[in-house]
Symmetry: C2
Subunit: 353 residues, 2 copies
């Protein structure tokens, strides 16, 4: 329903849905976590509140509360005989991996800290991160987060980064590069995939010391230390230059961790390291070229995580904004590969102008 055509009474309903949404979020999460949604799904339209109370050992009060809330949130339906059924929305909440990952990430990583979003916007700092510790950004604190928070963080991070890689490999290796620089290579996942994909390629991972330690250990376990180099660099320090010599410079879900001015500085740094033949790749989930509204909404929600928890100054970008930053850095987009493999990611191939 477009907003122009929306009746006032429906808009009032939408406004109340927003106003009470944190409470319904908790209700839906709880009815999932307590196994109630699963129970109703298994009973295939035959479950009653009394069944749940008896079989799951929960209070009548609690089950009734959660069923009423989940029905109002659209995750359950209750027919006139009091029989419960999981709706399509409820099915995704119960069974869809992306939805599970998103719920856990929002509850464990974002919920508490997001309360101070207003302060984050005013101060340009991730004030919500203080619920976990006193680090300038989440990246410094990642290894010290409570286990459950860390688990939800990594599951979210990995879920969104991996599925574009198979198609991206084909593009990057046609024509074959001899030397790839993986900027912000993190755990080394992409670099190791490159080594597996092409037995001749060499890779250099450029990252902060903590990340390099992790990727070096991962490379060691896969016997790839002879083919992967490790280059310590802090790209927020513009005096530290990206070295020359790459055929391909690769940045996957890296630039969204920075503010626009920082992105321009990083891309300028990349530009000085490139020559006319260097292919520079930016892999990002841009929110404005998604096929589904669900994906766009999730990406914009992820921006709010960056503001409140991650670093206070980065976000998910639109492809138009990113192209503008590319051009400010003296680069030009030579090719655009949208939504690789049905993933959320677009690959931009850039060249030095």
């Amino acid at each position: 329903m477009t907003t122009k055509k929306m009746h006032a009474i429906d808009a009032l309903h939408e406004a109340q849905k927003l106003a009470f949404s944190p409470l319904f979020f908790q209700a839906v999460l709880t009815i999932r976590n307590l196994g109630i949604l699963d129970y109703i799904f298994d009973k295939d339209g035959q479950a009653t509140i009394e069944d749940i109370v008896r079989d799951l050992g929960l209070s009548d009060y609690g089950v009734r509360l959660l069923v009423e809330a989940a029905e109002s949130a659209g995750a359950l339906s209750v027919n006139e005989a009091g029989l419960l059924e999981v709706t399509k929305t409820g099915f995704f909440i119960l069974k869809d991996r992306m939805t599970q990952v998103n719920f856990n990430f929002v509850q464990d990583v974002c919920y508490e800290g997001a309360r101070v979003l207003e302060d984050c916007v005013k101060n340009g700092k991730p004030e919500g991160l203080k619920v976990f510790g006193n680090w300038p950004t989440v990246y410094e604190g990642l290894s010290q987060l409570p286990d459950r928070v860390k688990k939800s963080w990594f599951e979210f991070d990995h879920f969104y980064s991996d599925n574009a890689f198979p198609s991206a490999l084909k593009i990057v290796f046609d024509p074959k590069p001899a030397y790839i620089f993986d900027i912000g290579g993190n755990t080394g996942k992409w670099s190791m995939l490159c080594c597996e994909y092409d037995p001749d390629v060499r890779v250099k991972i450029l990252d902060l010391p903590g990340q390099l330690a992790v990727s070096r250990e991962n490379a060691r376990q896969r016997n790839l230390l002879e083919r992967i180099d490790f280059h310590q660099i802090n790209l927020l320090d513009t005096s530290q230059k990206v070295p020359q010599g790459a055929d391909v410079i690769w940045m996957s879900q890296f630039l969204d961790c920075f503010a626009v001015e920082e992105i321009v500085a990083i891309l300028k740094n990349v530009c000085q390291a490139a020559n006319q033949n260097t292919r520079i790749y930016i892999l990002e989930p841009f929110f404005d070229n998604q096929k589904y509204a669900a994906a766009k909404h999730s990406l914009i929600g992820t921006s709010l995580y960056f503001t409140t928890i991650a670093n206070g100054n980065s976000k998910m970008y639109s492809v138009e904004v990113m192209k503008n930053l590319v051009s400010q850095a003296g680069l030009v987009v030579s090719q655009e590969y949208p939504l690789l493999d049905g993933s959320y990611h677009t690959l931009l191939e850039c060249r030095k102008t």
Copy 2:
């Protein structure tokens, strides 16, 4: 859109809206609190992000983030020229008193504590209340809550209780009662209205000592001490009996503060105090006979507040459940007055069987 007819892709979107809803709640609240929504409304379709940054002195990053989030939440629309407009939903968020009251109540009173809803359901206790203090229920702690929390609590409480009273007075005073018992009379608002409505009526407020102190002071200021009696009672202690002698026994938004077993005990206590001519009134916003989906949703959201913050065992009830409790207590509903004055409240008139 009914869930049966919903396309899977729309259901996936709904599921992601739920998953990220606490973040979008914060974004919408922040864009309201920082005056951005108001600014866009005043500019009547002509505001740009650049205007807001300049005129409100906020960062380009912060404004862009909030505008993208508010658009995705349905509170704003952005046209192809980058001009911003407040949607109908956004209009209610900005201007509608109920929506304002609900947002403030959820943020200030409920948000932080609601995070532990799962524990509340398991333990039957308002575990979320611990973010404010170690009281068994919110009622003991009300006077000690931080000012902003207290303000949001009372604004919410008053907003929903007052608008049904004018119609209710006409019903209760036809025929004229000589003596009204106001059970759970709280600040004495209803009792004082009765005294103003009919110069002959006497009222007895029955409540806990703290509430009686407040209502006595209010009655004193209005010179009503000669017409209002004060009777200290804890209705959770079944040995404390409601006295006899009332023509009308009145309970307004009182029973929703108790669990079903407690409600039956209270109604039995009322029953023993009544004779065949005593009219017993229950005024409640029942969630299942609301005219608008917005109201039903808000009431069910309010149940989640009772679970996490108020007392851990009460909720908003359906009229069917309440009638069943009335009957268990030996009473019968003799009249039902739904949605008084276009309010959310239904008045049940009960008699001893």
